[in-house]
């Protein structure tokens, strides 16, 4: 009788050890890229899969990635602020603030450098940073992964996504990168305007979108060399160009920006040009969050530009402090900037916290 009991117990224990084993048959993920966007380059060592994206979404909102289990990527990149932080500087788990504003996470699959100073050359490299950063999530990846390995869901999901049982930080950042690459915004009023302007076909829903004449007028100003002259750095479907620029914020630089990475004085005070998509939602503005609202931003480019040694030559009216917009022009420009809001993007259920 004892022997039968012993074998039964052994069988039970052995079979219970297998209960979280799942198959590794990843499903290719089909990105929904808007018709007026370029193709996205996906790294060959991190192909998109349904399982990887799903895992990435859980990890993006996973607070156990932080030292005190209270902070996730989503804490400083919230959907309602277009995945940025409404605070000027984000506060880490130890109550320490950084010195730069959290960037909005929009269409990053098309970017080739990350952070305000461009110090990361890939999305995966960027994602590695915040977890061990002492002023952010402040936890070693080893400790974070150790927590995840105690969770059956993650053991299963890492296996489903990558076919590994002994997963590590490289798998975690790949999954989060896959999720972030799905965060595509291309459904704003501006997208309809862009398509109309470039003679591209509209969908049935887009044909019903009404563009206010003032929004068109604001767009004209946005592009006008003698108007707001914004288009040199913000154009195309992504509403940005891939460069670093000193946009005339200061005479001298407390934060060297790109120059702090390259150690080249000609890069001092230059920062990554951000997209203007969802700009109305992602206040405060600039690398240091110095402007609280769009009015202050517009005023800067209108009359607050400071000349310095590295100011972008494309800020052509720097010599007179800016483009000198009148009140009506500022109003129109702001109207256009509001067309860049994409509510479909921020409300997309696939981008929300799964818990």
């Amino acid at each position: 009788m004892k022997r039968i009991f012993f074998f039964s117990l052994a069988f039970f224990l052995l079979s219970s050890c297998n209960k979280d084993k799942v198959g590794y048959t990843p499903t290719p993920y089909q990105l929904q890229i808007p018709s007026h966007f370029p193709a996205m380059n996906i790294p060959s060592d991190n192909p998109m899969t349904v399982e990887g994206v799903e895992l990435g979404r859980y990890l993006f909102y996973e607070k156990r990635l932080s030292g005190n289990d209270k902070m996730s990527c989503g804490t400083c990149h919230t959907p309602n602020t277009s995945f940025s932080d409404s605070a000027k500087y984000s506060t880490g788990i130890d109550g320490i603030q950084g010195n730069r504003n959290a960037m909005a996470l929009i269409n990053l699959g098309w970017d080739s450098f990350f952070f305000w100073d461009g110090r990361a050359g890939s999305l995966e490299e960027q994602i590695l940073g915040p977890v061990p950063n002492p002023i952010e999530m402040h936890q070693t990846w080893t400790a974070a992964i150790g927590k995840l390995k105690k969770d059956t869901y993650y053991r299963n999901q890492f296996y489903k996504a990558f076919g590994v049982e002994d997963f590590d930080s490289s798998h975690a950042v790949k999954a989060i990168a896959q999720f972030v690459r799905t965060m595509i915004s291309g459904s704003s009023k501006y997208d309809v305007m862009y398509k109309i302007e470039n003679n591209k076909p509209l969908t049935a829903a887009e044909q019903n979108v009404v563009i206010d004449p003032e929004e068109w007028a604001g767009y004209d100003l946005f592009k006008s060399l003698n108007g707001a002259d914004c288009f040199h750095c913000h154009n195309g479907p992504l509403m940005r160009v891939a460069k670093f620029s000193n946009n005339g914020l200061d005479f001298s630089f407390l934060d060297l920006g790109r120059g702090g990475i390259t150690n080249n004085p000609n890069d001092h005070g230059k920062f990554k040009v951000p997209t203007l998509r969802n700009i109305a939602l992602s206040a405060p503005y600039m690398h240091d969050g110095r402007f609280k609202n769009l009015d202050e931003v517009i005023e800067h480019y209108s009359s607050g530009v400071h000349i310095s040694s590295t100011i972008d030559p494309l800020i052509e009216y720097a010599g007179q402090g800016g483009v000198q917009l009148d009140a009506q022009e500022k109003l129109l420009l702001k109207k256009f900037l509001l067309t860049l809001t994409d509510y479909q993007f921020i409300n997309n259920p696939a981008f929300q916290d799964p818990n």
Partner: protein, 248 residues
């Protein structure tokens, strides 16, 4: 029986030890590269360095970029498009896997040919310089197409011995009107690596700015974006750039 088995094992081991047949490595493909070496007069040009023109004005150049398209000779195509970006790509204009001996001459459009200038910039292949991801600020976001030539920097307009680069300049040449055809014969391809030959152009930025017959007066002519009101300056900039480009 045991002995036979032993021999069989020995034979199998020897056979297994036979080296795989050696496949000769494939011959590397021949590549033809076109470089552009920017100079200021007779000295090599460095971005962000200070240069002085004959009128005493000092300038710094922060960017030189340009497109060429339809690079071909009578019988062979070299490339559909080639993009020069000194800051990001160095002095490379184009490198193709082809036989350089087929190109004793070369013609191209300085700019983006009309047939593709107005195409959707998102629709070009990702590895094309014309794809909006790669072209970036070299594409105007509406139907006028690409910026063909972009020269940007700063000038010190006060000739007082103090470096004070108080004036930004930017010359953006685009629109179909300002495409320019160029043609070169008797090309001097130089062997620069085991399987690479290189053709080099000079780009003299001193002659671009301070062309003896039509100099650019930076203080009074700091900008053009090829709009209708600045046709004379645009034409001058486009022509000066073309004339500054020569075979080495």
């Amino acid at each position: 029986m045991v002995k036979n088995f032993f021999y069989l094992v020995v034979f199998a081991c020897l056979f297994a030890c036979k080296p795989d047949p050696v496949t000769p490595p494939p011959t590397p493909a021949e590549t033809a590269r076109i470089n552009v070496n920017p100079t200021f007069g007779s000295v090599p040009l460095l971005l962000d360095s200070i240069y002085q023109g004959p009128n005493g004005i000092k300038i710094k150049i922060s960017d030189i970029k340009f497109f060429t398209t339809l690079l071909t000779n009578q019988n062979n195509n070299f490339a559909q498009v080639a993009y020069f970006d000194l800051r990001n790509n160095g002095n490379l204009l184009s490198e193709q896997t082809l036989d350089y001996t087929k190109f004793s001459s070369l013609s191209f459009i300085l700019g983006v040919d009309t047939t593709i200038n107005h195409d959707d910039p998102s629709a070009f292949p990702n590895n094309s310089p014309l794809n909006i991801i790669n072209a970036g600020s070299m594409h105007w976001g509406w139907n006028t197409g690409y910026i063909f030539i972009s020269v940007e920097g700063k000038a010190d307009t006060l000739v007082d011995g103090i470096d004070n680069f108080d004036l930004s300049y930017s010359y953006h040449i685009g629109t179909d009107l300002y495409q320019q055809a160029m043609s070169f014969n008797n090309l001097n391809w130089v062997k620069t690596a085991a399987h690479q030959h290189t053709l080099t152009f000079n780009l003299d930025m001193e002659s671009f700015f301070f062309n003896p017959t039509q100099p650019i007066n930076i203080p009074s002519e700091p900008f053009t974006h090829s709009g209708a009101g600045l046709g004379t300056l645009t034409q001058k900039v486009a022509l000066n750039f073309k004339n500054a480009l020569s075979l080495q």
